[in-house]
């Protein structure tokens, strides 16, 4: 059911192929992500789900020998066009990484980093954004008294939520999450998952996860990738209950992976 086309598409991927040097990692993927929903990308290790995710904000450009073919349309505009400004793109497509990576700065400075690099200098706006973003990331109550302490003093789960706050502070359209909970304990994971549920009201979220229960819990749609191919894509409840494809079924029932 790879021809699943949800309504209100924000990000459309057309025949995307990705190469590391001569070897192809993604073999022509077509997928559409709907607005203000959570889409999970699942699949066994090395299936290309993270690589695919990084194609959406062109983080793969950092890899010298990489090459991309095909199109990724953000609001109908191909992000791989020569006219695309990568900096502008990344402001619209935020990202949260597998390992939390707050800057060695204060909590406050971490949140407004995206604004600062965009040339923003308005102190009032900073204050407002810090509060809304931290509230949005469900961190405000925990850190409001120590905004100017180092972010490195937070716990693992708090750091990850700070990274989410940092990502939403610049008001992106899409937030990419690359296994955001894989390094967290169950309690923190639960909080982040809860947070994702809140965030979907305002943002389009694409989340890569290893954990099928997590995908089942947080996502509206799920895409299963295997060896660089999109095997199956559909609403989460359907895909988990009635997978159309044998490979999908084998994977979600734990026969491999």
């Amino acid at each position: 059911m790879t021809d699943y086309k949800p309504a209100n598409p924000v990000l459309e991927v057309q025949d995307l192929r990705f190469y590391y040097g001569d070897s192809r990692a993604i073999h022509g993927v077509d997928i559409t992500f709907p607005e203000k929903q959570v889409t999970a990308l699942i699949g066994p290790s090395g299936c290309g789900k993270s690589t695919l995710l990084r194609c959406f904000n062109r983080m793969n450009d950092l890899i010298d020998i990489s090459r991309v073919e095909g199109k990724v349309l953000l609001d109908g505009q191909n992000i791989y066009d020569k006219s695309t400004d990568i900096i502008e793109l990344r402001r619209q497509v935020g990202m949260v990484f597998q390992k939390s990576n707050p800057f060695p700065k204060s909590i406050y400075e971490n949140v407004i980093y995206g604004l600062r690099i965009a040339g923003e200098k308005d102190k009032a706006l900073f204050d407002e954004r810090v509060e809304t973003s931290l509230r949005g990331a469900a961190l405000w109550d925990e850190v409001k008294d120590r905004l100017h302490d180092s972010a490195l003093g937070l716990s693992g789960g708090q750091m990850q939520r700070l990274c989410i706050a940092r990502a939403i502070a610049v008001n992106p359209k899409v937030i990419l999450m690359d296994e955001p909970c894989s390094a967290l304990d169950p309690k923190s994971t639960a909080r982040v998952e809860e947070l994702i549920g809140e965030l979907r009201k305002n943002f389009t979220i694409i989340i890569v996860t290893h954990n099928m229960q997590q995908a089942a819990r947080v996502s509206d749609n799920t895409a299963f990738l295997f060896e660089g191919n999109l095997i199956e894509y559909g609403p989460t409840d359907q895909l988990f209950v009635k997978p159309q494809n044998k490979q999908t079924e084998d994977y979600i029932t734990g026969r491999f992976g």
Partner: protein, 739 residues
Amino acid sequence: MNAAFLKKVKRNDQLARWVITVGGMAIIFSVIFILVLIAKVSLPLFLAPKAQLQQVVQLDRANEQIVTFGHDEYMETAYRLLDDGTTVFFNLEDGSEIDRFEPDPPAEGLTPLTVESFGRLRQAIGWSDGQLTVSQVRFKPFFDINNNNQRRIDHEIIPLALFPTPADGIPLISQARIDEEGRQTRVNRYPGNHLTLQVREVSENFLGDEEITETETTLSFNSSGTLTTLILSAAGQHLYAGTDRGELLRWYLSDTEEPKLIETVQAFADQRSITALNLVLGDVSLAVGDETGQVSTWFPVRDEMGDKKLKRIHTLSQHNGAVQKILPSPQDKSVISLGPNKLILDLMTSERFLLAFGEEEGLIDFRLSTRGDSILALTKEGRLLSWKLDIPHPEISLGTLFGKVWYEGYDEPVYAWQSSSASDDYEPKLSLAPLIFGTLKGTFYAMLFAVPLAIFGAIYTSQFARPRLREWIKPAVEVMAAIPTVIIGFLAALWLAPLIERSLGGVFLSLILLPAALMLSILAWQGARKIEPLKRLERGFEFLAIAPIIILTIAIAAACGPGLENLFFAGDLKQWLFTEMGTRYDPRNCIIIAFAMGFAVIPITFTIAEDSLSNVPNSLKAASLALGASRWQTVWRVILPSASPGIFAGTMIGFGRAVGETMIVLMATGNTAIMDLSIFNGMRPLSANIAVEIPEAPVDGSLYRTLFLSAVILFVMTFVVNTIAEIVRQRLRAKYGKF
């Protein structure tokens, strides 16, 4: 895992822990040990001077009147000259008589009237008819073959000169000197401020016969007071006199027909009487003692008119009554003065009070041995006291090492380092200030050049260059560190220095042109970066585009330099700098040092900075880029702060390297111990100074110990710098986290 294997693993673990602990401790201890060793050599510089009373000999004051006395440098034999002209040699330990020389007057029946002891056991004896003889007592250690090789001190009296009775009759007092060419000078003082000069010059005529010319002139002068004391210089060329109205007079006696009164100085405004005069070793400074007990030294200094005028330079100790006698040390610039109740030893140069001794002994006269390390003094009651002086390094004090000092012959106090000179009686100038200054100056200019290059190079290599390129650049720069510094110094001194000196105009021009050309090319690049073949350059090969621009700019600067010099600086920039800007251009200067020492500093700083920049986790870089930061924003706001502990450490280690660097500065600084911030002058750093001087420093001498002291300072400087660096690094690390 079986039990035996587990045991072995544990044992190895223990062993490794011990080896590492012992190794680490051994390193710490050896560093401390080195510091202790160096400090141990330098510490005696600050030992307190000592005078130890050796012997007391009671003389038979009832039956003999002593006119003069003296002793050998071994403190074994002494002599006394009695008022009948007899010289008695006696054992200084028990006072027993050894030998007795009958009077040897120039004519029968004469007795000594006046005696002046001077120099190395010499005495000028004025006889009762006005004639004057100069003789010298000589002591010589001697091993008696006939008596079981026992060591004895031999003694003899050598007559040196005989002056006839002066035309004006028997003087009150006379002084006489003999110089190396045989010129004999006698000055006679008569009552009523009457002074005469007698000179006997012995020369050979063309037949090889000796000819003696004798002249006698009156030294006339005007003074409101009465002459109280005289001193004739060792060669008899200069005469100084003091009056009871505080005046100092100075004559130049070289022209025997017309001796010249150079000046009369009202030395003391309160017209206090001058009671004692003598010349400090070297015959430049005049030590003056007055009735208030003040000892001061004077020497001629150029005044506003450019004339040399006697000026009070150093004020030494204060006695509690009139100064009776002053003697200079025959070894250094120290002065011993006798007041009403004690002897005081001062060092003139640093005005350092060294010792006071012989309190309440009733001393009336004293002599120094020829080595200046012992004193024989006579009391009112006819006792002779001898002291052994132990003043290891009188010329060294914190004041002379770090402060300004007014040296003989200088017009003002200065910081100076001049450890040796052609003559024996020079004043050692051992100020460490110009050396510390030199070290800091050289380091400053080297860091100014090296640190920006190293850090920007590291930023480029780690953040902007392609990884492949980085694999080449890093080892290449590290190989730079392996170049022996002697080669860098050699190239800097013999190739770079003349090159820069020749094309100074070009060097300055390129300083202006290079940044301008780079700016222009960057602006041009902004337009060209979108063009397809150039676009490929942008990611990590930009330097390929910059290289020809830099080379071309330098070539243009070199070509235009001479023309520019002709146009604006009358063809010679160096001359222009000197006449217009007042800076002298040394061929070996800080520009050379910056380049050469930069060559030594860059690799270390670069490597450490590059490592720490590369070690900033990619996740941070990714986080920044994912938020829409440009490469430079990422570097500036995330990478640099995170790498700052490492960059700082690299800079500080480079600093430590520059401070301790020896070979390059030795060869390329010119080693001039001057204190001038000018970039066109050289300097003499501590390290190079040690290398230059230690082979020539007598072991355990003042210079030797001072060099060790400078090594301690160098050690402490690097230690302090490294400690501060470590503290700052720790704080930066605490602030920017550890990864």
